[in-house]
């Protein structure tokens, strides 16, 4: 008897709870899948929480989905199963794949228009948004965390080698010369090195010297692009590095950023990698560190041009309801807010995406207090981007980078000449591009 009574009251309670929940206005959920860990994950969580506090109509739910490739694969698998998230964070090398997937994604400019959200594409920094826009300037995805490549150097090591720590090398010949002197002063395992090897030595190098990495504005004007990074200047750089690798004046540090520890541990006194390395350096380097622009060959016309970005952007997935898109649009407006961008820039070390945020940070005297933090911005915003330096849009980019790395590894191991390695990298890469072109939705 008692048990029946309990059962009845439980059922009644459940019914009541369900009824009252249905009566209250449920916020529309917006799923945001991302790949941020550590301090950057905290930033993502805080952004979602802050947005949810500002209004009650929408609720952004941020979910960590693993590394960049993991997140992208999870999103693709979810799309194939018919329940993609609304917002997906995709690394820059996935841009061409996402863009080619018409119907699977919703271009940001289109969504903003459909949702009736105020949106001025000119408010954004062109070198940042250009990477994620069409040639007509229509923004396809919203830049989220952007960085660029810069040169990090060890001021203490410079002093030890009798070099002026206030005058970092400006050109490649100077870098080679400095590295030799540093090596002679005791840094014999590594004079200088580079992380994200293909990003630095091929992609950034091309943009910085206003040389095409690939035809058709690096693929932005069409999928029938062909690779062109076997120019005499590219060969010159790789050839120098092959020679320097022999006595470790330059020492190869791998394809990704796993070699970055060689800088913070003090092993490599000059190291080129992402500007987002800042937090790590600040926490772990036990020496006086300096940040400087990337080196260039002074005989190249137009160098230095501007460097390109790396990092990730937020893609909006297709096939959702208009009211959900309205929420996403509100969230993007919230993200682009000047004060929020200033905070993000200072907190995470990534680049601001709007002009106003850059100006405001500058006016606040932040760059005077934190010398070096403006280097990536000067590098990005110094000149108006050309078609060689706006960005890259190459399909199967992950595979392309693998192919290029393999050929560079053969070259640095002394198995191939610079010309041979770059020619093969171009040829093999082109075959991969043609394969991608065939799968593109027309």
């Amino acid at each position: 008897m008692i048990s029946r009574r309990i059962l009845l009251s439980t059922v009644a309670g459940l019914l009541f709870a369900a009824g009252s929940a249905a009566q209250a206005q449920q916020p529309i959920e917006i799923q945001w899948w991302h790949a941020m860990t550590g301090a950057n994950n905290d930033v993502v969580v805080k952004l979602a929480e802050d947005f949810n506090k500002t209004q009650s109509q929408y609720k952004v739910v941020a979910t960590y989905k693993g590394s960049y490739p993991d997140t992208m694969n999870a999103g693709i698998a979810a799309f194939r199963a018919g329940n993609a998230p609304h917002i997906m964070q995709v690394f820059e090398v996935g841009t061409a794949t996402m863009m080619a997937a018409k119907g699977a994604v919703m271009p940001v400019y289109q969504m903003m228009k459909d949702a009736g959200e105020k949106f001025d594409p000119n408010a954004y920094l062109p070198t940042v948004t250009g990477y994620y826009s069409t040639t007509k300037g229509e923004m396809l995805s919203m830049p989220f965390n952007s960085s660029t490549a810069i040169m990090w150097y060890n001021k203490d090591a410079f002093k030890k080698a009798g070099l002026d720590p206030a005058k970092p090398p400006k050109t490649w010949p100077e870098v080679f010369d400095y590295a030799k002197k540093l090596k002679a002063s005791g840094y014999n395992a590594c004079g200088f090195s580079v992380a994200w090897t293909t990003w630095l030595l091929l992609e950034q190098f091309s943009a910085w010297h206003d040389l095409p990495l690939a035809s058709k504005a690096n693929g932005m004007d069409g999928f029938d692009t062909v690779l062109q990074f076997n120019s005499p200047l590219h060969v010159k750089l790789i050839n120098e590095l092959i020679q320097l690798q022999k006595d470790k004046t330059y020492d190869y540090s791998g394809r990704t950023n796993t070699g970055e520890g060689r800088y913070t541990s003090g092993e490599c006194p000059i190291f080129m990698t992402s500007s987002a390395f800042y937090g790590n350096v600040k926490a772990n380097a036990k020496f006086d560190f300096g940040m400087a622009p990337l080196p260039y060959f002074s005989d190249a016309k137009g160098a230095p041009q501007n460097s390109i970005i790396g990092g990730a952007s937020l893609w909006v997935m297709g096939g959702k309801k208009l009211e959900e898109y309205k929420g996403v649009a509100k969230f993007f407006t919230f993200l682009s807010d000047t004060d929020r961008q200033v905070w993000l820039h200072k907190e995470s070390g990534y680049l601001p995406i709007t002009k106003a945020a850059y100006e405001k940070t500058k006016a606040s005297g932040f760059y005077e207090q934190n010398p070096g933090r403006e280097v990536p911005l000067i590098q990005m915003a110094g000149k108006a981007p050309t078609e060689n330096s706006r960005g890259l849009r190459l399909g199967n980019m992950v595979q392309l980078r693998d192919i290029w790395s393999e050929e560079l590894e053969s070259a640095f191991a002394g198995k191939k000449s610079a010309k041979e390695a770059l020619d093969t990298a171009v040829e093999r890469g082109n075959a991969t591009l043609r394969q991608f072109e065939r799968t593109v939705v027309r």
Partner: protein, 293 residues
């Protein structure tokens, strides 16, 4: 005397088999067929557009010199890892099977590495052998060898072989030890009384009597090196330098998951599946004849 259960009902045996058959069909045959189907398609990552290209994915593979190279790398890698992990595990098992103080402690410790996930095993070895920070790498360098798995393919291969072998030794050890303990003591003792040396006892009595275990482990190890080692390779070398450690299974993972080339990746999976089926069949047909049960 014949031991055979008699079923009067013709349907019942099939009914009893159904659950097992269903599991096999759904979890093994269906995915395998999916792979074969996918290998005939050319498709973008999102599956928005796909077209049948039939054997083109296979033709592309066989025209690709890298595929041939991955094949060679796989042969070297699997032979060395399977041989080393079996040989070392057998040696350790024979040693641990003897009457020694603290034998249980040794046995337990030797089984531990099996509990380590492949990727974690890879990272552990990477830490020890990382050229600039690794403990072992530093001492190797001090001995005068320019250790550099980032550029030297042989060094990278040595590293993945070490990690792959280390990971599998515990499993093999466990089975060898169980196999050894199942060998009747009396046979060995009789041989000892007859004056047979330890080495001779091992090769003429223990090794033949252990052959069912060895055969089983050989099959399992071949499957292990073909399929389960990509986690280690991914963590340690990422298939590099210049494809020196890209095995067939790593190439499947690399092209499919990282590269988004589903058709090509599926074609490779189909080939790999065929190779392992063929290898296992060969083992059962020819090697098993020499096994004494």
């Amino acid at each position: 005397m014949e031991k055979r259960a008699i079923y009067n009902n013709r349907v019942l045996p099939y009914l009893l088999l159904t659950p097992q058959l269903l599991v096999t069909l759904i979890f093994f045959y269906w995915p395998a067929l999916q792979v074969v189907h996918q290998s005939f398609l050319l498709e973008d990552a999102f599956g928005l557009q796909s077209s049948y290209v039939w054997f083109e994915n296979f033709q592309r593979l066989f025209a690709d010199p890298d595929y041939g190279r991955a094949f060679g790398v796989t042969v070297i890698f699997s032979t060395v890892v399977a041989f080393l992990s079996l040989a070392i595990a057998l040696l350790l098992a024979v040693m641990a099977d003897r009457q020694i103080r603290g034998a249980n402690a040794y046995k337990t410790l030797l089984m531990w590495p099996y509990a380590v996930a492949p990727a974690v095993a890879g990272v552990l070895w990477l830490f020890m052998f990382q050229p600039s920070l690794g403990v072992v790498a530093q001492s190797v360098k001090r001995m005068g060898l320019d250790w550099n798995p980032l550029l030297n393919g042989t060094h990278a291969m040595t590293l993945v072989v070490l990690a792959g072998t280390w990971k599998q030794i515990s499993y093999n050890f466990l089975f060898f030890l169980a196999g050894l303990q199942a060998i009747p003591r009396s046979v060995i003792e009789a041989a000892a009384i007859d004056g047979a040396s330890a080495t001779r006892r091992f090769w003429t009595i223990i090794f033949p009597l252990l052959s069912p275990t060895t055969f089983f482990l050989l099959v399992v190890n071949i499957v292990y090196v073909f399929f389960d080692t990509f986690g280690i390779i991914d963590a340690v070398t990422g298939g590099g330098p210049a494809r020196a450690t890209t095995t067939l299974v790593y190439k499947v993972y690399d092209d499919g998951r990282l590269g988004g080339d589903l058709g090509g990746s599926a074609a490779q999976s189909a080939i790999l599946m065929f190779i392992v089926v063929a290898l296992t069949a060969v083992q059962f047909k020819y090697v098993e004849r020499r096994v004494h049960y």
